[in-house]
Symmetry: C2
Subunit: 300 residues, 2 copies
């Protein structure tokens, strides 16, 4: 492995969606030379106006930077851009770093890291939590897997994007921790949905129930932040049902491989499936309660 | 209904267990004349030394006080003490108040309130959260169901016992909200168990996974307070599996009556059953993860 200790100054980012675009802007604000690429060109024009260079293809971008960040929806997207038609791996110079900040398969992540290693390219998996608000404010929580030296070299990049950076182990472990996070999160959403539905059906004002429960031992971040949205039937997404379901699918696939019996998470998966069957993929993930309402007859 | 507006000065408490005894001591500290009763006499001697009067029977106690608090394990215990051999309802004077602070059936609570009303006795259901620590420090969260005037009259009593008093609706609703709280709590415990088990089996240091998840959107009170106990295999109870299972049973019974489909809560009930089958009823409720470990083969 080529030793690189100088600090990173040129960064590329592929994927200018809800998360990637504000991350691109925060890299610019922190003084990096930023190269950006996105399939739809409109987003490229938006970040160009703020100072990003958009070479027109992922390959052309990868040729010019020390670090490439991918921020894409799912495993096949990363595969296509890095190994497939995007030709990023082919274009990256030895000694450069690929940081995948998408939420994708831990197994594919390890496979991709192996392919990078063959070309003397380091890889980190660095999925995030904190949503679009965290991306905009630069307060993402970033879970990083990879070699310590590479993590340290890339720390200025992470510091531009997030407020909490946790190095959780070797490559692939960032994705594992992110999926564990999603398992806990959807379980908390199911718990909240059942509690609030029960209170309402048992004749209690759910607003009063929410207030009484929130500050105690059953409280959670999601109960505080998504509970009030449920009470007012505000289904605006912090994170959509469609993306949440994608993450639960990744978690169940990974759990299957390591033999973890995720009874509750399987249940949540089936309930989100019910929402997708009714074209509710763009609702927020707290719309999970609607699946229970179909069962209780409170929603048709 | 007899109008009573003078402030309460004499209070009786029945049940001097892990919760009832420290509650009795806090009533004494707040200056009430406290009468106490407990089936086992040892506990009576302990509170006598602190200034409580122990008339020797629930009936003798109920004859002398304005307010009787019951703090007992389950519905049949309250029934036995108030309507059965304890003869509390028979002994209470018109205009007095029965406050049941146990966690019991909402339906039985309403039935009991009806029986009280016939004798011009007011009733409040006022279950608590906060555990033995909350009982000792007088920082319980109290969910009260009943008439506003009665709640106000008893407020000095509640203020001696808790830091948060929420009047959630008519009689019975305190129990409904408490059960909703338990539904959310056990769901959060299952979510945490699945997330931590997955991380460990997928090869990640669960301590690092816990640290990375705790402060984000999947965080919860139980993740923060019980997660570290799971990581160190400390099964000391904040709340026992046996009592937790009793509360989940009450929740499922009440959900059955009002038609709330609690898929996740049913699952948790079966998993706690597995722990009871292995004589783990005195473990803390976070031992729920052990049930998943039996399934994964990580525990024999």
């Amino acid at each position: 492995m080529t030793e690189r200790t100088e600090s990173v100054s040129t960064v590329g980012i592929i994927g200018l969606g809800l998360m990637g675009k504000p991350m691109c802007l925060n890299l610019l604000k922190s003084g990096f030379s930023v190269y950006a690429h996105n399939r739809s060109q409109g987003k490229c024009r938006e970040v160009e106006r703020e100072g990003a260079v958009t070479p027109g293809s992922a390959r052309a971008m990868a040729e010019r930077v020390e670090v490439v960040i991918t921020m894409l929806p799912d495993t096949p997207d990363v595969e296509r851009v890095v190994l497939g038609e995007g030709e990023v791996l082919d274009a990256l110079r030895p000694g450069s770093v690929l940081i995948d900040m998408s939420t994708i398969s831990p197994d594919f992540t390890r496979e991709l890291a192996g392919r990078c290693r063959e070309k003397d390219i380091a890889m980190l998996d660095a999925p995030v939590t904190g949503g679009d608000v965290g991306a905009i404010n630069g307060t993402l929580s970033i879970m990083v897997g990879g070699e310590s030296g590479v993590v340290e070299r890339c720390r200025p990049v992470f510091d531009a994007l997030g407020s909490t950076v946790t190095h959780v182990g070797p490559v692939g472990t960032g994705q594992v921790v992110k999926l564990a996070n999603q398992i806990v999160g959807v379980g908390n959403l199911l718990a909240m949905s059942e509690g609030l539905l029960f209170a309402r059906r048992a004749g209690v004002d759910p607003v009063k129930a929410h207030r009484a429960i929130e500050g105690g031992a059953a409280g959670s971040w999601l109960f505080t932040h998504r509970g009030p949205q449920i009470l007012t039937e505000d289904w605006q997404p912090g994170f959509t049902v469609a993306l949440q379901q994608k993450d639960v699918r990744l978690a169940l696939e990974a759990a299957d491989k390591c033999g973890a019996p995720l009874l509750g998470t399987h249940l949540v998966y089936s309930l989100y499936q019910a929402l997708l069957n009714r074209d509710l993929g763009q609702d927020g993930n707290h719309a999970l309660i609607k699946a229970l309402e179909y069962l209780s007859g409170d929603r048709s």
